[in-house]
């Protein structure tokens, strides 16, 4: 099983790796497109505050802004380490 997986990985062509990476990058860039300019700063400062209490990584925090017609919802997801 392991060997088969290894062989499969070996055969994966560089162009398909490029495509997968680009799909992730572009999805991320497009998510950022419609955000207000202050979002990256807000994200960093929130992360800083959380880190005063819990040690989390940069990618443990996920923040997004959903805009509806009459209001916006700021959604903050933080994955905390398991053994608190």
């Amino acid at each position: 099983m392991k060997l088969l997986e290894f062989l499969k990985r070996e055969r994966k062509k560089s162009a398909s790796v490029a495509k997968e990476r680009l799909q992730i990058i572009v999805a991320h860039q497009r998510g950022e497109r419609d955000q207000p300019d202050y979002m990256p700063m807000l994200e960093n400062e929130l992360l800083e505050v959380i880190r005063r209490y819990v040690q989390v990584d940069q990618d443990a925090i996920n923040i997004s802004l959903d805009r509806d017609n009459d209001c916006s919802v700021l959604e903050l997801n933080v994955t905390l380490p398991r053994d608190e």
């Binding site: 062509k13 162009a15 398909s16 490029a18 495509k19 680009l22 990058i25 572009v26 860039q29």
Partner: protein, 272 residues
């Protein structure tokens, strides 16, 4: 009223100037009054690709600063009727390129021409944003390669937000994908993104596919836009692109695997 088309990409060296020169020439050859403007202040190249570098007297900045009239700065193409070139300044600071000045120049040209083709500098700063600001359509030049595709997506973001059409909530800038330097053999071997991959990732309409071609270097060596070389694959591919810009439906070519003949393998000759 002219249609303003910006040729842009974010990344440098992907083929913007080559494409702007070929497409402007192609539009003129089809009978459209066309002017192609170099926005790459400080790094002008379009004059070389168009073969008019020795006839540059005034440039875009001189016009904007009121030091020369448009008619003094415009260079008439020697080979192609209906075609003029407005060169960039080689020496002046980019800041001399003001939105008001560009707007005024474009407005005047709009009265005279059918198409205004703007050759954008690389990057996403002042010069690139100004080149796209007044555009009706955008040709996003992309190589099948990760950094070029990512930069193209950034440019699409700017086209959707930082253009006059976006700011005035007018119908958006029409976006066209132009894939250049495509090497079908490397695509077949799995080491180059396919044209479907690039189109799927960027999700915009494909207007042309230009293969990697020796004819492009030959053309720029001679200062004759490659679309004049209708025996070459790149020349034909640019002519097809122009037809599609004009609304015609033309099938894609030059995306298939090229089998090298024995002679060309022996003597290392490439594709014409």
């Amino acid at each position: 009223m002219a249609k303003i088309i910006v040729v842009t990409s974010g990344k440098g060296g992907v083929g913007k100037t080559t494409s702007a020169a070929a497409i402007a020439t192609g539009l003129a050859l089809r009978g459209n009054k066309t002017v192609v403007i170099d926005f790459d202040v400080g790094l002008r190249n379009l004059d070389l690709v168009m073969g008019c570098e020795r006839r540059v007297v005034y440039d875009l900045i001189n016009v904007i600063q009121g030091e020369a009239g448009l008619n003094q700065a415009l260079i008439r193409d020697k080979r192609t009727e209906n075609l003029h070139i407005l060169p960039a300044s080689q020496t002046r600071d980019k800041a001399a390129l003001t939105p008001e000045g560009v707007e005024k120049a474009l407005e005047t040209l709009s009265q005279e021409y059918d198409f205004i083709v703007c050759d954008s500098p690389a990057g996403i700063e002042h010069g690139a944003q100004l080149a796209m600001y007044f555009a009706d359509e955008a040709i996003v030049v992309t190589n099948p390669e990760v950094s070029s595709v990512r930069d193209s997506d950034r440019i699409l973001g700017l086209l959707a937000s930082k253009t006059r059409r976006a700011e005035r909530s007018e119908p958006p800038v029409q976006e066209h994908l132009l894939i250049t330097r495509y090497d079908p053999n490397r695509v077949t071997s799995g080491d180059m993104l396919t044209l479907e991959d690039v189109r799927e990732i960027l999700a915009i309409n494909l207007v042309g596919l230009i293969p990697e071609s020796e004819a492009v270097l030959r053309a720029s060596n001679q200062g004759v836009p490659v679309v004049h070389d209708m025996d070459s694959d790149a020349g034909k591919a640019y002519a097809d692109t122009v037809s599609r810009l004009l609304g015609e439906e033309v099938p894609l070519r030059f995306y298939g695997y090229q089998k090298k003949g024995l002679l060309s393998r022996m003597f290392g000759g490439g594709r014409r």
